[in-house]
Symmetry: C2
Subunit: 322 residues, 2 copies
């Protein structure tokens, strides 16, 4: 370990805001050198309770997270927040707006809020988020809230990291619930119907209940029936009940796994390792074949019709994966 790595690790463990902020930005940008820091931090992780909050744009996730922070702080917990937006820079404005809503907590030293915005050319947001969670964990935050826009596989992978995953919907989404939420429904431990004063909240409740009952591959369905809560985050209605439900889910996990260290659960460890390998593998491989000029050569051959892409793929894999 270099002196600089040692210094960063020390400062993160002391909870130094500036160091943590820079490290998370470096993770987001996939800067070289972060892995040594992450390795050294790893033994200091596994203490935080991680809560994932996901749902389509516009369901009020940020407002809910903002209220959850308030309640958690009142109970004396320190809180880390990661807002994950693997969409294009194009939406920067809207997303910054959301973040601003949480800024009332920005003067509170017990709260640390960061956005993960950039997604590398070939994904990697999942691994970057997992690493950022490790950092907030190592810096000593009791509770980590991870907010994602629930629209893709990336988001599903990210919330799998959480101890408790909350899926947020709003009334009147109609068929959209069925279509958009597909993969997300399966990972939800608790469902929140936000803006529950709107028309159609009971209908949404019924729809959700029915869909959850239809699920056949929910591993834990016999043990933990996901509760559905009506919330009005903007008026702070139902948020306390949500936190109590999270607490109940936490007790369930401890009972089931013996402790909160999901990272000692081989199934989760395997998923997480495979995810990390996937990102790193491609990065490593692409770098090799780019540097050596092989990629360009094969592209050229395909463009000229000398080689088909399937054979090009076979050749490159055969030469580089042993």
């Amino acid at each position: 370990m270099t002196d600089s790595t040692r210094e960063i690790v020390k400062k993160v463990l002391e909870g130094d805001i500036r160091t943590v902020a820079r490290l998370i930005r470096d993770i987001d940008d996939n800067m070289p050198g972060i892995r040594d820091v992450l390795k050294a931090l790893y033994p200091h992780t596994g203490k935080a309770y991680v809560i994932g909050i996901t749902g389509a744009p516009g369901v009020g996730k940020s407002t809910l997270v903002d209220q959850m922070i308030k309640h958690l702080r009142q109970k004396g917990y320190t809180v880390g927040v990661l807002a994950v937006d693997p969409t294009s820079p194009f939406t920067g404005g809207a997303i910054l707006g959301d973040r601003v809503r949480m800024q009332r907590h920005s003067m509170d030293k017990g709260v640390f809020i960061r956005s993960m915005a950039t997604r590398g050319q070939f994904g990697g947001i999942t691994q970057a988020t997992r690493s950022a969670i490790d950092v907030l964990d190592a810096m000593g935050k009791d509770i980590i809230l991870v907010e994602t826009v629930g629209v893709g596989q990336d988001e599903v992978d990210i919330v799998k990291t959480a101890h408790t995953t909350i899926v947020v919907v709003i009334p009147g989404m109609g068929d959209d619930i069925q279509a958009i939420k597909a993969g997300i429904l399966e990972v939800g431990d608790i469902f929140v119907i936000n803006k529950a004063d709107r028309d159609g909240a009971d209908r949404t409740l019924m729809d959700l209940r029915m869909m959850l009952e239809m699920e056949t591959d929910r591993e834990r369905r016999d043990e933990w029936a996901p509760p559905i809560l009506k919330v009005q985050a903007v008026f702070d209605i139902g948020v306390e009940e949500l936190l109590e439900t999270i607490e109940r889910h936490r007790s369930y996990i401890i009972e089931r796994y013996g402790d909160l260290k999901l990272r000692s659960d081989p199934k989760r460890v395997k998923e997480s390792l495979i995810q990390m390998l996937k990102d790193r593998l491609f990065e490593t491989f692409l770098e090799r074949i780019s540097k050596s000029g092989e990629l360009e050569r094969r592209v050229d051959e395909i463009s000229k019709g000398i080689l088909d892409p399937y054979s090009a793929c076979d050749i490159l894999l055969k030469e580089h994966v042993v």
Copy 2:
């Protein structure tokens, strides 16, 4: 090439429906042996015109595709349709419903419709779709319509394969357009406001126009300003204009690239090869470390706290990627 491969290739080139259907299912299931068939078919591809149709659930993509088929058939073109739904099996019902709407064309031998439903454990839908397009191309379809639910990176990657990409929205999606469509906007060659008789169509038109003007990284923006069309697919209003606009875009491509063989454009070839490598690479790698027992051993070590996942990753990559 084995006799069986040769036989499949021959039948695909003859346009044998049953063989093509089975091959596409095999591609979707990632069955062994498909790559030899695809290699042999490759020289017979590159003739079809590929149109991507994407948009959120509920915007009426299937109805639009259904009408497009009708118009294209009237003009004498043969049509292949791939409906790509990389969501969980959970939504099977809804999606089947959509497909049924197109079934009025099922007795027409000039139309071939298939869904790509399964997504492998670690992605792969993009590559599977590209391969299925190649098959429809080789079987002799003039026009291939690829319908995807526009919510994730996978969908963006898939429509990149198309000559012309149509993004479908509906009035009154409000902020959602901004949030959900991010990555999709950038790939749209033509925008369709479907259900344009609904309130707010003009507002949506203005919003879209503004967002397209805000785009700075649109490579072709000076050459091809994406038109925005108002359509009522269910009443067949605006569909003919859409097809004329596609025709205009086709002329633009020919003018720009010299021909329609985007596959000879090195930039597209490179993107496509990288995508294929990504899927295959991980599959190959995971198979190796699973069979050899290394994956399980490392998972075990991480679970027991002997090894951290970052180091495990380093070790596995070092041993297998040269």
